[in-house]
């Protein structure tokens, strides 16, 4: 990021901030996707977890656009707000994911490592987004969105099958939400920085 000195303070341009944010969101989703696939391959085969993972994400209470038209119609502030809400809602689950995934017997290192990495990157993305929001809306966004996660007990279930499904579900939701964030941020970037002419 190039720091240009303006008004006594050194500032990174908004475009650079968005670039960085998009890079992070893209990265996070890649990791999440890989993590899910690995887990699915290793632990979820033949268990029919997918059938159960319907409407099971804790962030589904947040109403987010579900197609392009909806996404383009929403105001960028609201979209930003949603992004912040989802990101914030995942702080807690990611933290627990890191600690709990280690208890999975014979958990591969790749899954462990990815969990740690996602949790870390998510924090940085949050910081970046807060900067962007501060730049765009210095007064704040107002209605802060947040979804509380209460899935920790299910991660600690004694029943292996249930526990595994809890992980599966969590990873499934993580993959989806990270994709959402990534998509929204790319939309916002093109809209705000490139004037919808990416």
């Amino acid at each position: 990021l190039i720091c240009s000195c303006q008004r006594r303070a050194c500032q990174v341009s908004l475009g650079d901030l968005f670039d960085r944010a998009v890079k992070l969101s893209h990265y996070i989703h890649s990791l999440s996707s890989e993590m899910f696939n690995e887990f699915d391959e290793r632990y979820a085969q033949g268990r029919g977890f997918i059938t159960k993972a319907i409407n099971s994400c804790h962030t589904s209470s947040l109403t987010t656009p579900e197609d392009k038209e909806q996404a383009q119609q929403i105001h960028h502030e609201d979209l930003l707000n949603l992004v912040m809400g989802v990101l914030n809602s995942w702080n807690d689950p990611l933290l627990h994911l890191v600690s709990e995934v280690q208890t999975i017997k014979e958990a591969p290192d790749t899954i462990l490592w990815k969990a740690v990495e996602i949790e870390e990157q998510n924090k940085r993305l949050l910081e970046g987004m807060e900067k962007i929001v501060g730049r765009l809306h210095p007064g704040g966004l107002g209605n802060e969105l947040y979804s509380r996660w209460s899935g920790l007990p299910s991660l600690q279930l004694p029943d292996e099958d249930s526990r595994l499904f809890a992980f599966y579900n969590l990873l499934h939701c993580l993959r989806r939400d990270s994709h959402k964030i990534d998509n929204y941020l790319k939309l916002l970037k093109c809209r705000l920085i490139h004037d919808s002419n990416c």
Partner: protein, 611 residues
């Protein structure tokens, strides 16, 4: 297809969903595999259930995506939702439902290939040619709003090439390709992928034909090289013309015509017949058997390479023909034994000297050489020319001409003609080049030769008679006559005896004194201690004019005799210029032959090494 009876009129088989794809993350399609229809027309229906919704819906569009497909338009497409899709196959007999298929459109994005791939050749700022590739995203993909993020990949190959070169381009829609082969025809393709989706198919092929590159620079370089080399060639030819060098002769040396050894063409041209003939040496000397028992035997000359008596030739021609190493065949004038005529005479007088004393086995041409440039015929005829043996009597002092003496080799074998020997001796003695040159008495008799002949013949006669040689006196005369510079008396009528080299005159003649003379006034000029032994063998020659003599083991005296040339006035002086002609001995006045216990005078000592 033929159906078995059991298969006839059956409910349909279980359908199976093959795949679902979304090209732009806004719509999607699903395709299923047709099942065995049991011979009856089968109807397929697709039902789907949206995540979070209870009811199932039927496929909105069975046709757009082709047979056995369902197309979900924008309205029916939701992202971040799981679709539960099932297909039902129905026929008269019944129906069958596929397994549920869970599809999230988010993860089935596969764009269409990019379009409008254009290839154009452009010139870079530094003049380099490059290929500019341009393409567009697939029409349906909404990249501008950022909804879809596409990454592109190119591939190129020459038309006849085997392998594609694949280039990941990223999100740009143009690319510059350098390092293409001029004159080649290239094929290019491009494909794309959504940021988290799958790669599209390759676009249709685009072609471009690169022109053959004409670089003015290259042509200029060649032109410059051509001009420069032609200029250089012309200059060289001109210079050679100036200098008169005949390059043709240099490159294609003329085939040497037959050359008679010893026949110097230059002499011929110069009209110096005498010299020419003398250079040739005694030729065609008819061998007579008379001398065989009269004259001795072998004069073996130690054939050390360094020791050759070479005459000083003003013209130097014979020397040229002389090859020091060529002992066998060279028959240049002047090369010969160390015999001086006087010596020879004395030898002739003597009885045969056992050949065993000769050291050098092959004479081959000493004689001949002594006779000057004798022809090869002579040699061939008498490979075993014998020379009188010096050893017992030493060498009488006589002027020893700096003749061409080949490596001291004395032909073994019978000496065929004393006259020849005499001639040899005389010719060997010949100081003057011209005198030497007249060796070929047969052809060009001169008074020199005649004299020699006379002397030789006389000698022969004398020998036969067992009388002392008159010839010796004559030889003396001849010698004196021949060697006008000779001052000291050298020859006397006496039996063969050791001679001591008295001096070497400027012409390279060795003046040898009889051994008795040592007591004479010359004694003081023999500083060499232990001079009782006269035999000496020249071991080497130093500096072209210093003979290193080595007496035989018997001799207690000096092993090495070495006398630097003295420029003393007396008859000794050899012109420095003549040093090069390889005097055998750079004998100062006090030169003495040292005998090393050898019973003969090693002709080596008289041999000048020709260096």
């Amino acid at each position: 297809e033929k159906l078995g009876f059991m298969q006839y009129r059956q409910p349909p088989g279980k359908p199976e969903l093959i795949k679902c794809r979304s090209p732009e993350k806004e719509t999607f399609s699903c395709w299923w595999k047709p099942v065995s229809d049991g011979g009856l027309p089968t109807n397929y229906t697709l039902f789907y259930n949206n995540e979070g919704e209870e009811s199932f819906y039927e496929c909105p569009d069975y046709t757009t995506a082709g047979p056995n497909s369902c197309y979900f338009d924008k309205k029916h497409t939701s992202l971040w939702t799981i679709y539960n899709i099932t297909i039902k196959a129905t026929n008269e007999m019944g129906s069958n439902i596929s397994e549920p298929h869970y599809v999230d459109v988010t993860y089935i994005v596969q764009p269409n290939p990019p379009v409008n791939l254009s290839l154009a050749l452009n010139k870079h700022t530094d003049g380099k040619l490059y290929l500019l590739m341009n393409w567009s995203s697939p029409p349906l993909a909404d990249v501008r709003s950022g909804w879809l993020t596409l990454e592109y990949e190119l591939r190129l190959k020459p038309e006849e090439g085997e392998e594609w070169e694949t280039i990941f381009v990223g999100q740009r829609t143009k690319y510059k390709v350098f390092s293409l082969i001029p004159g080649e025809k290239y094929i290019a393709q491009v494909r794309c992928k959504s940021d988290h989706g799958e790669w599209s198919k390759w676009s249709s092929e685009s072609y471009i034909h690169l022109p053959k590159e004409f670089r003015l620079k290259d042509m200029m370089v060649w032109v410059f090289v051509a001009v420069l080399s032609s200029v250089i060639c012309l200059i060289m030819i001109w210079m050679m013309g100036l200098k008169g060098i005949n390059m043709v002769a240099c490159i294609l040396p003329p085939v040497p015509g037959p050359k008679i050894k010893g026949l110097d063409a230059h002499l011929l041209e110069a009209g110096k017949n005498e010299e020419l003939l003398s250079a040739l040496g005694c030729q065609g000397f008819p061998p007579t058997s008379d001398c065989e028992d009269l004259l001795v035997e072998f004069l073996e000359i130690d054939d050390s390479e360094d020791q050759q008596l070479m005459p000083n030739h003003e013209k130097g021609h014979p020397n040229k023909n002389l090859k020091s190493g060529n002992k066998e065949t060279d028959s240049d004038s002047g090369r010969g034994s160390c015999d001086s005529p006087s010596l020879l005479l004395e030898k002739c007088k003597e009885s045969r000297i056992p050949p065993a004393e000769f050291q050098t086995p092959d004479f081959s041409e000493t004689q001949v050489k002594a006779a000057g440039k004798s022809s090869q015929e002579t040699q061939n005829r008498d490979p075993e020319l014998k020379l009188p043996d010096f050893n017992s009597d030493g060498v009488k002092s006589s002027t020893w001409p700096g003749t061409q003496l080949a490596s001291s080799q004395i032909p073994k074998g019978s000496y065929h003609n004393i006259v020849e020997v005499c001639k040899v001796a005389f010719s060997a003695m010949n100081v003057n080049v011209s005198a030497i040159r007249m060796g070929n008495e047969e052809k060009h008799p001169s008074k020199y030769s005649k004299n020699i002949e006379t002397i030789c013949e006389g000698e022969m006669t004398q020998r036969r008679k067992g009388e002392s040689f008159h010839s010796k006196a004559k030889a003396d005369q001849a010698l004196q006559w021949l060697l006008p510079n000779e001052k000291s008396p050298f020859l006397s009528d006496k039996p063969m005896d050791y001679v001591e080299i008295h001096k070497v005159n400027q012409n390279g003649a060795l003046a040898v004194l009889p051994k008795q003379k040592e007591n004479s006034d010359k004694t003081e000029i023999y500083p060499i201690p232990g001079t009782t032994k006269e035999y000496a063998k020249v071991t080497r020659v130093v500096d072209n004019n210093v003979l290193v003599l080595m007496p035989e083991s018997r001799v207690q005296g000096m092993p090495v005799f070495q006398e630097p040339p003295k420029e003393s006035a007396q008859s000794l002086h050899q012109s420095q210029a003549e040093k090069n002609m390889s005097y055998c001995l750079t004998a100062p006045s006090e030169f003495r032959l040292q005998t090393g216990g050898l019973e003969y005078m090693d002709p080596n000592s008289f041999m000048c090494s020709f260096k």
